[in-house]
């Protein structure tokens, strides 16, 4: 493993890499094999999830690695019970939370990165502190609070909760990103007559885009997969107004677990997330880079 650090980091200048290339061939093979092995380990459980979803009922507990017959009915019957509505509800919750985080975190992160003001340290500490608190640990409080608030629909409550608990990470990453962009760039633009907002929009935001995308995707995925608060707050909603995690959880019934539908639904719910990640895979590393040098 120790030898590996010698070749240049992947995304930096290509020239030194090319120089090493011919010499490193057998080593590259070893890396490739190891890399594929790791990838396989991390993907296998989800392959098993798909296989289980495709097992016909009478092969559910058979000991073959693969079923003798494939049964797609779990994927079709699912839609008869408001599963589509659940997906839409989850889109609203995750989308709403992401939007709210964007609106709230962006100015806070920008201002704390650019200005030194009284209470700045306190504010950053507050943000860091919220990262320590997780909804699972304070469910009793959340449940009682939102009972009292009595919002018109659990969707609103869940947007608020998901935004609140993902805010810290977004502020932290964005703050690091803005800090890494020299203020002089904006000032130069402002001398040319652009307003501060204009400079922010035209100069800083585009440069900070990887960080913004990372923060937003994290929020979206966090909200999309959130289960515990959703389970507590969205029970009074009709089936197609419950988020997808709650709907899936309902396949764990009083008398039996409906593995087929549970996993079929899980597959469908996970695909959009994997696709989202696929789009931004490179950016995640970039986005986290700024976060980690701080």
């Amino acid at each position: 493993m120790t030898t590996t650090v010698l070749s240049a980091p992947a995304s930096s200048a290509a020239a030194p890499v090319r120089r090493n290339k011919r010499r490193a061939k057998p080593r590259t093979m070893v890396f490739a094999i190891l890399g594929y092995a790791v990838a396989l380990i991390f993907i296998l459980p989800y392959v098993e999830m798909v296989i289980t979803a495709l097992r016909p009922p009478d092969e559910l507990l058979s000991r073959g690695y693969l079923p003798k017959h494939y049964d797609w009915s779990n994927f079709t019957t699912l839609w008869k019970t408001g599963f589509g509505g659940s997906i839409w509800t989850s889109v609203k919750i995750a989308g709403g939370a992401t939007l709210l985080v964007l609106v709230v975190a962006l100015p806070a992160a920008y201002y704390t990165a650019r200005r030194r003001f009284r209470g700045r340290a306190l504010f950053l500490l507050l943000v860091l502190a919220t990262q320590m608190f997780q909804p699972a640990a304070m469910l009793v409080g959340i449940q009682r609070e939102f009972n009292d608030l009595n919002l018109p629909s659990p969707t609103y409550s869940l947007i608020l909760v998901n935004a609140g608990f993902n805010l810290a990470f977004a502020v932290w990453i964005l703050n690091a990103y803005f800090s890494s962009i020299p203020a002089e760039l904006e000032e130069a633009a402002m001398i040319d007559g652009t307003s501060r907002i204009g400079a922010l929009r035209r100069i800083t935001l585009p440069l900070a885009l990887p960080g913004v995308v990372t923060a937003l995707i994290f929020t979206f995925i966090g909200a999309w997969n959130e289960l515990i608060v959703a389970l507590t707050l969205s029970l009074s909603a009709t089936p197609n107004h419950r988020p997808i995690t709650v709907t899936l959880n309902n396949y764990i019934g009083q008398y039996s677990i409906d593995w087929g539908h549970l996993f079929a639904g899980s597959v469908i719910a996970t695909i959009p997330v994997i696709v989202l990640f696929g789009f931004i895979e490179g950016k995640v590393v970039g986005g986290l880079t700024a976060g980690s040098i701080k």
Binding site: L6, G35, F123, T130, A136, V140, G164, S266, G291, S292
Partner: protein, 301 residues
Amino acid sequence: MSSPVVLRRVGRAAQPLLWIGPAIALIAVVVLWPVVVMFRTSFQHISPDGYVLGSAGGKNYSNLFDEPDLSAVLIRTAVWVVVVVTVTMAISLAIAQLFNQRFPGRRVARWALIAPWAASVMMTALIFRRALDAGSGVINVLLHDMGIVKHFNSNQADWLGRQWSALVWMMVVAIFVSVPFSTYALLAGLQTIPSDVYEAARIDGASKWQIYRAITLPLLRPAFLVATLINVINVFNSFPIIWEMTRGAPAHETATTTVFMFQLKQSYIGESASLSVLNFGLVIIVVLLFLRATRWREQVS
């Protein structure tokens, strides 16, 4: 003092609020308020169906500390956090360095690593629960074919039914879902190390191991610490894995504090709230100790 001066001072004081006010409001409503409710609940006497029957004084806390299982649960939680976070960071460090190498198909391999991150933890826990089924779980089928598991439906095949084997498997799942984020954080850290630092070291005739010790590890430290801290908090509060795989059974033998809190919540809401408060205290202490040990302050400033 004339009013324009006051106004200007108020204006100057209010300017930060314009920018950070919304964030403070959101945190106050969603995070701080429930904490306050939680504290209040921990001093209330509440019936199992949620009626507040009056003040409990310190009764919830004394009941909590009288729970015969509490100390075992606390020790188990400590073991759980230390093992999961340590192994996660070790594996992530290895994978991050592997995935920082150039090899054909690297993008796809990195992408595959994202799966446990993209799927909800609940799903992953349920997949493993099924795969560990004593009669037909695919992991047992594999172990049986390898000759490790002798009989299906035996005590040996029933990994989730025994305290320690259940805990070990649940730790495996916890590590499995924690590695992707940690790896990506470390990968990001590795990429911030400028390549000319290595060039310079090599010109100075440093050995590979020396370079790794003297350059890579120290420069990776900030990323490593951030990832570790986030893991500590997440693993401490981790709930779905244990809940979906054993529900803390048998009895409370596989419960951590978060799970134990849920088990208590069914009958003793006040006592459960006081355990939440204790939980907070613990998280804060652990984080402060961590920050102090790593001299975080110097890192940030």
